[in-house]
């Protein structure tokens, strides 16, 4: 290949960022409605194992993606029932979902430990993929990567250009006001939570069926939590979610490249592997230290239970 290392890094960065794009956009919609779902890690893990199992038995990556979406939605339905119908604490319920999901995924996944799937071919767009440097990164990727861009456009349009999106944001700011003008607060929060869960499941499916493609316990490796941090980093704006996700994808890939050529650098691989986690802490600090930025941009009712007076 005449492609240089720059192209290779760009291609890999976009792939590594894709599960974060999908999961964080889903969580963004959930949080915009005022619901804080800390279960993303567990949802992704269950999505990953469900997708892997489905793809393994059916031989179809598409069926795998669908199974991931369904599993993620089902997990978030349990969360929604706890927090929206039974008014349980959202932080504790999200943690419960993460612990449960990671455990459930390990349990189900035991049967598939170290099994592999055939690699899913990329969808190469003729001509455009020939563009130097950027061509392969943008026009020779897997279907799910293109889907993640559609998702980005769809979420941005929905939140800021559509009536239901406006309603969803209004509910996230003040559920009581939205209820008083007759909006179905709980129903919309349910839908927003289900959407977030479905996207978390798809992100997990991308990891286990399209990206690696294999199942190992602990393969989600904190990406669910990083997606949550990304939403804060993005100050709840879709385009910054996209930017942040690729930034993180870049950190993950660059450390892998350095590890690959790290024999002469003598940096222990564990230190390089911990870079994405340090980076998460760093961006959280950078964004959060300005208290008013967070207060102005976060949905005002985020994490607070709401029960409409009958």
């Amino acid at each position: 290949m005449e492609d240089g290392i720059l192209t290779a890094i760009l291609v890999a960065t976009i792939v590594a960022g894709t599960p974060l794009v999908i999961a964080a956009l889903g969580e963004l919609v959930t949080e915009k409605s005022g619901v804080l779902n800390l279960g993303a890690e567990g949802i992704m893990a269950v999505g990953a194992v469900a997708a892997f199992a489905a793809a393994h038995h059916s031989g179809s990556a598409f069926a795998g993606a669908l199974a991931g979406i369904a599993a993620g939605a089902l997990m978030s339905l349990a969360f929604a029932f706890l927090t929206l119908t039974l008014m349980a604490n959202q932080v504790a319920s999200g943690l419960a979902l993460s612990i449960f999901g990671v455990g459930l995924a390990a349990f189900i996944g035991k049967a598939y430990q170290s099994a592999t799937l055939p690699a899913v071919p990329t969808l190469r767009i003729p001509l455009l993929a020939e563009i130097p440097v950027l061509g392969r990164a943008i026009f020779d990727q897997q279907a799910v990567v293109y889907l993640s861009w559609l998702l980005f456009a769809g979420v941005a349009w929905f939140l800021y250009r559509s009536r239901p999106g406006l309603l969803l944001r209004a509910i996230g700011e003040s559920p009581a006001s939205a209820h008083s003008i007759g909006s179905p607060v709980i129903r919309i929060r349910y839908l927003a939570t289900l959407f977030g869960g479905a996207m978390g499941g798809l992100a997990g499916a991308f990891l286990s069926v399209f990206y690696t493609p294999l199942w190992t316990e602990g393969m989600v490796a904190g990406r669910g939590w990083i997606a949550l941090a990304l939403v804060v980093f993005a100050t709840w704006r879709p385009w910054r979610v996209l930017l942040g996700a690729y930034l993180f994808g870049g950190v993950m890939i660059v450390q892998l490249f350095v590890q690959g050529s790290g024999a002469e650098l003598e940096i222990p691989s564990q230190f390089l592997s911990s870079l994405p986690y340090w980076a998460t802490i760093a961006v959280l600090v950078l964004i959060s230290r300005n208290v008013s930025t967070i207060r102005l941009n976060s949905p005002a009712s985020l994490g607070e239970p709401y029960r409409p007076e009958a």
């Binding site: 419960a96 035991k110 941090a229 222990p268 564990q270 911990s274 959060s288």
Partner: protein, 358 residues
Amino acid sequence: MRDRLPRLEARAEPSAAMRYASPLIAVALTLAGGLVVFAALGKDPVEGFRVFFLSPLKDAYGIAELLLKATPLMLIAVGLAVGFRANVWNIGAEGQFILGAVAGGGVALFFEGSTSPLLLPLMVVAGAIGGALWASIAAVLRTRFNASEILVSLMLVYIAQLFVSWLVHGPWKDPEGFNFPQTRMFHDAAMLPILFEGTRLNAAFLLALSALLVGYVFIYRSFPGFRMQVAGQSVAAARYAGFSAQRTIWTGLVAGGAMAGIAGMAEVSGPMGQLTEHVSSNYGFAAIIVAFVGRLNPVGIFFASLLMALLYLGGEQAQQYLNLPSSISKVFQGMLLSFLLGADVLVNYRVRWPRAGA
């Protein structure tokens, strides 16, 4: 249609009885869920139930193992409860546990060969400091930069795991260990004394009981504990009373970190006897469940730890005798917390059943 569904009706006062009944409801639902899970997996549910929940307790050795597993859970959960009561969400006890194991184990390796009776106390202190320092990263970033302690303490878990992995693959690896990623075995003076001959139960259990006692006094009988309580119930009230929000965050995180650190130290100088990559069996996360199921109350935490320890042992039994992955424990642990959170609705609401024929 709508009138046929049971409806929730707000109680005028939270029900004190339900606060204590709801963990019991959650336990009952988890046990019932266990029967369903075993049946769904094609096992005889009664046999599964017996193997998982009863067989670990069949003899004195089993009881000692239960107390051994409950020890780190008690230690961590009581520390976390201090923070959780004030809405300080330290979710990274797993990482603080690892750093405590590293610090305590480091002391054992550094003073290898010492027979001083001060060695063990020094290791306990080192473990507490290691865990507290790791937690204080989250405290600094929260108090100085407003960064969410939930996400920061969690990221520090992954970093701690990689750090201990580097230690045992690199500088601390046992040179005569056939290249296994582990340190040398600790010598006798660095091992916690066994309480009962023929079991593995060690002095850390007594440490955990004292921690529960100290935790009880701190939470219910001390002024700093009262300040934390006020901060947890109303930030505005705490500010009005002049209680420092910064101090609340520091106290919550350092208490959790120090206790998790002691638990980590007790694990390496107890049942493990050396530092390895897999120093924690998820205790840091399981202890979060223990703290909630125990109602953030040291007495409740005592019983919740025993229950959670039983889930651990049951998982091992299920692997051995039912040929099920031991991660089934985590499934039950997650179920327990979810059921508890769901059952808690009954504290503030009563269920209004539709009248027959209406």
